[in-house]
């Protein structure tokens, strides 16, 4: 265990340390200080996020099970930022709901361990690490979804998540075993050289992909999404919608763009098909949703469909645009979720109808929401537009004009239901609107960060340039 190892594992280790510190705090803190856990976590994690930006040199560990390089490091940082925002946004909720039950630190520990799992997942160098990361990230989430023990829906969400994820991982494992059978190795590096096109590989590819499709919630592996988001605590839902989805996208990209690159002529069809299905189904379901969490769930499914437009290319351009999009998506979606979180923490209301006349009572919140939704819909000048435009450019660069056309049709559909929310907030007047309230500090910080991100990411081009520069290092 030399210094080098430590440095390469920096991210994971610091997360682990934070988790441990929280445990210790839980043990020693008296009832009155319990509330401190929130601030403690946030501060520590903010530190961790900051440190994350120190650059990291690439290398392998554990005989290639664990690999890291600048790009993967970037992924991890992106996830860190996302989690930080999630923490900030759920802080108030934790304070009010969990701390009185002495379950505050639990929540954070579970969340962090899930993040730890994701970190391992995206820097996994072989299937074993991959599998462990996958499970380590999923199991805590199941626990978290069922975290509000006294709410039936929460438990239901937990059940649905754990069972579907178990099934998914089972199928993935089966796929992995087949891939192992066809190549005789579980290491990505070797596999890339040995892979060859035959029915066994194809079978394996599908089964393996199903597992990731489950995490990214692509049609037809998406059904759990809406129910779990609706039932789970909002913080968890937002975590599911951006962090674990993002991580899954990253690892999918890494795996398909490097290991399965030779088979691109196969899986581009797969992505094409699923992209179309996912966009349409996601949008069509989102159209009618009244519950905001469910609404955002379906919208996030549709967004996943858009992501496939970038993945289908298999080129550096695709990598860059996808990362860029995911980054922007994290901010936009968290802005929306943040507002939902704030309102539900304050009033417990989660329905679109409750939002009517919101602008007149809480203008700031509604503006944040509008920005988030516009960004999700892809309307300039907010970041979402750039993300989508570049994704489409990537797809078009490979001549998928028709796919792009279908995508823009979907953009229009999605615009419709995003505008429904805007309509509720701005156009409608309500007899009993949500009364005016001021958010807790952490929530405000969380929202401000998202807003800044939404505005800056698009207009400030160096960010994209940086991502593009790194994208070359993928393969």
């Amino acid at each position: 265990m030399n210094m080098e190892t430590v440095l390469l594992l920096r991210q994971e280790i610091s997360i682990l340390i934070i988790a441990l510190l929280l445990l210790i705090f839980e043990i020693f803190a008296g009832d009155r200080q319990k509330e401190g856990v929130v601030s403690l976590t946030i501060i520590l994690f903010a530190l961790h996020t900051g440190i994350g930006f120190l650059d990291m040199k690439e290398g392998l560990l554990f005989g290639g099970m664990f690999r890291t390089n600048a790009l993967i490091h970037l992924f991890k940082n992106i996830l860190n930022i996302g989690v930080l925002i999630v923490l900030l946004q759920s802080a108030e909720w934790v304070k009010r709901e969990l701390v009185p039950q002495h379950r505050g630190s639990e929540f954070f520990i579970l969340l962090l361990s899930s993040l730890l799992g994701l970190q391992f997942l995206i820097s996994s160098g072989d299937f074993l690490m991959f599998y462990l990361g996958l499970e380590l990230s999923t199991l805590p989430l199941a626990a978290l979804s069922a975290f509000e023990m006294y709410r039936r829906r929460s438990s239901e969400a937990g059940i649905k998540l754990i069972l579907s994820s178990a099934l998914a991982s089972g199928i993935t494992l089966f796929g992995i075993s087949l891939m192992y059978a066809s190549t005789g190795t579980i290491y990505f590096a070797e596999m890339g050289t040995l892979i060859s096109e035959n029915n066994l590989t194809v079978m394996a590819l599908i089964l393996f992909f199903a597992g990731l499709g489950f995490k990214i919630s692509l049609v037809p592996f998406h059904f759990w999404t809406a129910d779990v988001y609706e039932g789970a605590p909002i913080g968890v839902a937002s975590y599911l919608s951006v962090i674990s989805k993002g991580a899954a996208v990253f690892i999918l990209m890494i795996f398909f763009f490097t290991v399965l690159k030779p088979l691109i002529h196969l899986w581009e069809n797969l992505f094409y098909l699923l992209a179309v299905l996912t966009m349409f189904l996601g949008n069509l379901f989102a159209l009618r949703q009244q519950n905001m969490k469910r609404f955002l769930a379906f919208s996030s499914i549709a967004q996943a469909g858009f992501i496939l437009l970038g993945l289908i290319t298999g080129t550096t351009l695709g990598v860059a645009t996808v990362i860029y999009f995911v980054l922007i998506y994290i901010f936009s979606n968290l802005a929306a979720f943040g507002v939902v979180q704030a309102i539900s923490t304050e009033t417990g209301k989660e329905n679109m109808r409750d939002y009517e006349g919101l602008y007149r009572t809480n203008p700031k919140l509604s503006l944040v929401m509008m920005l988030g939704l516009f960004s999700l819909a892809g309307i300039p000048p907010v970041a979402g537009f750039f993300g989508k435009f570049f994704l489409f450019t990537a797809a078009a660069s490979k001549g998928y004009y028709f796919l792009v056309f279908l995508a823009v049709v979907n953009v229009t559909i999605s615009l419709y239901y995003y505008l429904l929310v805007v309509r509720a907030m701005f156009l409608r007047k309500s007899d009993h609107p949500i009364p005016h309230f001021t958010n807790a500090l952490y929530m405000r910080i969380g929202l401000v960060i998202t807003v800044v991100g939404i505005l800056a990411l698009g207009l400030y081009s160096p960010i994209y340039d940086y991502i593009y520069a790194l994208s070359n290092t993928l393969n």
């Binding site: 074993l128 059940i159 099934l167 089972g170 089966f174 192992y180």
Partner: protein, 105 residues
């Protein structure tokens, strides 16, 4: 390497195991038995690993190791699932699948 039994039989067994699991998962009415079916699925995969390792690539034990991990994780998974189910049972005193369909459409 078991005498007289080729890889095909064994793989067939594991595959059957897998699909029995899937079938059970889809048809059982009781959450517990659904959970058991999940175990079957996982074990199917695990068997696969072992067999492939033993028959095709005996020189390195990657498959073996993998299967051990699968078993371990499966245990954790089950534990968690059970706990959630128990929690649910406390509330609605039932472990029927049809009880967890309140969120839909």
């Amino acid at each position: 390497m078991i005498e007289g039994i080729s890889i095909y039989e064994l793989l067939t067994v594991s595959t059957i195991l897998f699909f029995i699991g899937v079938y059970g998962f889809i048809t059982r009415k009781n959450l517990i038995s659904v959970l058991i079916s999940v175990e079957l699925i996982l074990n199917g995969a695990a068997v696969n690993f072992v067999v492939i390792n033993k028959y095709l690539y005996p020189e390195v034990l990657q498959g073996m190791i993998f299967s051990i991990f699968i078993i371990a994780v499966a245990a954790a998974e089950t534990a968690l699932a059970i706990s959630i189910i128990i929690n649910l049972y406390r509330k609605i005193s039932s472990v029927e699948v049809k009880e967890v369909e309140t969120m839909k459409n």
